[in-house]
Symmetry: C2
Subunit: 190 residues, 2 copies
Amino acid sequence: MGTKGEGNRQRIVDAADSLFYRRGYNQTSFQDISDATGIPRGNFYYYFKTKDEILEAVVSSRITDLSTMLARCESEAEGARERLLLFTDMLEVNRDDVIKSGCPIGTLSSELAKDESTLQEKSRQAFILLRHWLKDQFSALGLENADDLSVDLLAKMQGVTVMACAFKDVDYIKRSHIEIKDWINSKTLN
Amino acid sequence: MGTKGEGNRQRIVDAADSLFYRRGYNQTSFQDISDATGIPRGNFYYYFKTKDEILEAVVSSRITDLSTMLARCESEAEGARERLLLFTDMLEVNRDDVIKSGCPIGTLSSELAKDESTLQEKSRQAFILLRHWLKDQFSALGLENADDLSVDLLAKMQGVTVMACAFKDVDYIKRSHIEIKDWINSKTLN
DNA sequence: GTCTATATGTAGATAGAC
DNA sequence: GTCTATCTACATATAGAC
């Protein structure tokens, strides 16, 4: 209920978001988040009961950010095809981060798949959001296999990020981005 | 030089290989490897100075295994196109592991990208081996952009594994495998 | 070569003063 | 609400007996 406390809570989530992305969830300690925020370790337990709860808040925050990004794609582009093309731009917009740390959603999903717990389900929610939005765009263009196309597009972008990150290759991202846009056009034009 | 020691060394590498794949490198402890092999923790330091050295040995072991797999592709298929198609079969051959833990090479590369150390370079060696072999196959078919096609194929397979693992979807692997083989044929036939 | 005991650091989590 | 001190567990790594 406190106003000051909610501000601190958000600062913890923001710092954890960045650290989970750059170092991984398991490799990020409370001390790391404390160093990044200036908030003492012990204080975290006033806002979150466990580290898992911080992860849940981070995933929720990422989903909110993604929703904002998708809304911007809708407002800045007229048709569904143009929105899909705009969506793929995030490959190049975030290319430096992609080269260094991969995709925030993809790498988190891969990391959490290795824990036997139910953590991966949480990270999957972000993929589901994208999958549904992309499917809606393909559906709006009258394509019957819209869900398959949606997952295919996500797989293309995930594959590019994994290889670009593995080989630290910026040019490869640019080339692949063009190929992906060509693929979208080939599926949605005519 | 001891013969018994080398046997134990290999048992450590084999157990670490499996654990690094299923739980991740950072999430695998010496105790885990000890439990899997029956070899006491302290004994590991007779064979490896650090945990990083175990990882190096695991990557070397994986590269050896991959080389064997590629040699089998060459012996079991006549032409380069058939060898490429046979290579992609590993998607379905290992589909249960892929669903559970992703790709051993891709997930290790993604995990090590998050450490600021030089560990990722080691894991990249496995990707380089595949990249060169695939390039040789495309080159043998007279294709000029053989290296690009090689990375494109690796990206396709990485993308499929990431999505299949995220959504735990076996059918998606089967469908994508067919699409990948169609893509290879479209590039190499005529 | 093999194993036990242990050193040293740090992880997540808790208790309780203020 | 905020912070310090601390608990317990477990990590990598080392020392040294056998």
